[in-house]
Amino acid sequence: MTDDEKLLQQLLEKQKTGGLKPSDRFAIPSQPMPTQDEVERRSNIDEVALGYTETSARLEAMRCLQCKNTPCIEGCPVKIRIKDFVGAIADGNFGEALDIIKANSLLPAVCGRVCPQEVQCQAPCTVGKKFKDVEKGVAVGRLERFVADWDKSGDSIPEVAPATGKKVAVIGSGPGGVVVAADTRRAGHDVTVFEAFHKPGGVLVYGIPEFRLPKAIVQKEIDTLTKMGVDIVCNFVVGRTRTIAELMKEDGFDAVYIGVGAGLPRFMGIEGEHLVGVYSANEYLTRANLMKAYKFGKGADTPIAMSKKVAVLGGGNVAMDSARTAVRLGAEKVYLVYRRSEKEMPARVEEVHHAKEEGIEFCILQNPKRILGNEEGYVTGMECLKYELGEPDDSGRRRPIPIKGSEFTIDVDTVIVAIGNGANPLIGQTTPGLELSKWGNIVVDENCKTSLEGVYAGGDIVLGAATVILAMGQGRVAAAAINEYLTGKA
């Protein structure tokens, strides 16, 4: 018996005899996430976080105080009954825990891995507050992932109501689209998902790398949709192959959900951004993930820069994913250049931690001034400026101010720009009457309905670059509204 198993045994005994006091719970060590060796993983694309065992999951779950006021639930964008599912795990009732999660979230295996728990459910957790450290709070995401992975009922297909004869078109197969397809199909509608790429899954397959979210997990969700009778049509670019008006007027779709995600990567607007070796993170990650460029010449046909020294610009998840992908593609040196301080980085804490373990050098309070190139147009370096923090700006974060005369040059052959995306312009351009914000995002009401009758939208195209769980949450709202709209419709 391992020490952990012994501890679990003792706690269970104690629970039977008199119950666990908060002090007993505080005494249980916060359970670390086992990970792949930090050196070994630099040269493979396998998942880094390996997941809890039953013992560590139950120990972690026993740290939960079962608070009456459940601050964690308040922090969850889709209000998963966290206290209850954590309690079920503590009792060893993993199936029950899963059912509780699934009542609010359709993609626990995905969300458990990619949600920024430290700013959501885990931020207000009483246990974390007690230790004055968010990371010491109950590890809700790791527990969510544990039950999702434990689930062996992979083949069970959600029940589908008798056919209604109504047709729903879902545009885009990201997390929002997947949820809308599942929820409207369950209501008995005839559902078709249109995806521009040759593979469904959205950012979950082309953006977020395998080492953080294995493709097989996403594929399983897609397969479930297919088994439920959802028709998934790839290589279909709505706005071009068919417009929304044509889908509704000529092809008989009664309702449409637009979940086309973010588009048009932002660049810095500095000299040298068109040089060979400057990528948007989207392009770099799409080549590496979806197109499997890491196998170029060994089966895969899509090339990618064979970089030795890489600078990644940005401090979000996308920047971390790009930097960590560059390491795996063989870069010897990867710099992460960020304008503010580490505290302000929007990336998940765990990703920052993993990136550092993998040898990525954090260059904080620095920003590029121009990218340098040679005669042939290839990147040879980057000139940066040092920054200091000034007064807080509108976002409440302290404004970075360049330090005059602090220019210096770093030697790089590749620059990956991960500073965000604008809105995807295609649907807006081809759908007259669809109301857009001044940034090109689709405007919706509280039911995710757009300015057009029967047309709903959600996810990044509405929120700007957001998160998986927010896209999923909007998908749920939109699906409920679509189901209601179609019930009323003749």
Partner: protein, 292 residues
């Protein structure tokens, strides 16, 4: 639902240029002159390559693709046989050409650029324009679609670098003459290698003839997500797949574009060489020429 893209006919237009008529009913129904598709020949490990739509048969639901064998994917496509299928064809992509009656339109095609140029010239003709065609290539064998252009042009000039067919000249020479006529043409459309478009634009700019070019950058998604297709037009960043593919040629920074086009040259040559070796082993004879 899976749409099949069976190849119904295939031929070789020149040593390295191939054409197929392929089933793509959704694309055939929607496409307009000037648009392109993204093609992939293997779902899992294949590459996505943009190809222009050179023609369409809406009744049969087919489109015509023309491509030049330059890398591994285009070489593999050249080896596909009638009855075999292309894995996926997404599109039509890009904005259609703005067609109206301008008056006289001079259409300059270089090498494989004749393929995207043909539907545009045809649509311009149908809109009532007078068409002056200029087709150019290195040598006789590389002039494609000459008969098709002859059928729609009011005047057709063919040039080759080596004089093996038509005039011995670069396309800019007749272009300069035509743009110096009085009255001068109302519009020029130039499609071909970047270097050719660059010099055509230099010529027409001097003579003040508005010029449209169609750009063939590297692409990945084709829907405005990745930014790989970006070019500089009038000092601003534009995305060829959603803002183009056609732009005012006088505003395009061709030098930058040419550098970006060469981004993967060494890697592609390696892949092509590997594939050539593989072809030899499996008994396909035709040899692959290195990219210029």
């Amino acid at each position: 639902m899976n749409v099949s893209h069976k190849i119904l006919s295939k031929s070789q237009l020149s040593e390295n240029v191939f054409t197929v008529e392929v089933e793509a009913p959704l694309v055939a129904r929607a496409r307009k002159a000037g648009q392109f598709v993204i093609v992939g020949i293997s779902d899992d490990y294949g590459e996505r390559i943009p190809l222009t739509i050179a023609g369409v048969d809406t009744d049969k639901g087919t489109i015509r693709l023309i491509w030049q064998r330059v890398g591994k994917t285009t070489a593999e496509m050249a080896d596909l046989k009638i009855g075999e299928s292309i894995d996926y064809i997404a599109g039509p992509l890009g904005n259609p050409t703005h067609i109206e009656k301008f008056g006289t339109v001079v259409c300059v095609g270089g090498g494989i650029g004749n393929a995207p140029l043909l539907p545009i010239a045809t649509a311009m003709k149908e809109a009532g324009n007078k068409i002056i065609g200029i087709l150019g290539a290195r040598t006789k064998e590389l002039i494609i679609l000459e008969d098709e252009f002859a059928a729609i042009s009011d005047e057709l000039i063919v040039v080759t670098d080596d004089g093996s067919h038509g005039r011995k000249a670069l396309v800019t020479e007749p272009l300069q003459e035509i743009c110096s006529r009085d009255p001068k043409p109302d519009l020029a459309v130039a499609i071909g290698p970047a270097i050719m478009m660059k010099f055509c634009c230099r010529t027409t700019k001097q003579l003040d003839v508005p010029t449209q070019v169609s750009l063939n950058t590297i692409m990945v998604d084709g829907t405005g997500m990745c930014g790989g297709c970006r070019v500089e037009v009038g000092g601003k960043t534009k995305f060829v797949c959603v803002d183009g593919p056609e732009f005012d040629g006088h505003q395009v920074n061709f030098d930058l574009m040419m550098k970006r086009l060469g981004a993967y040259r060494t890697q592609e040559q390696k892949a092509s060489a590997q594939y050539a070796e593989h072809r030899c082993k499996i008994g396909l004879t035709d040899t692959i020429r290195k990219k210029q």
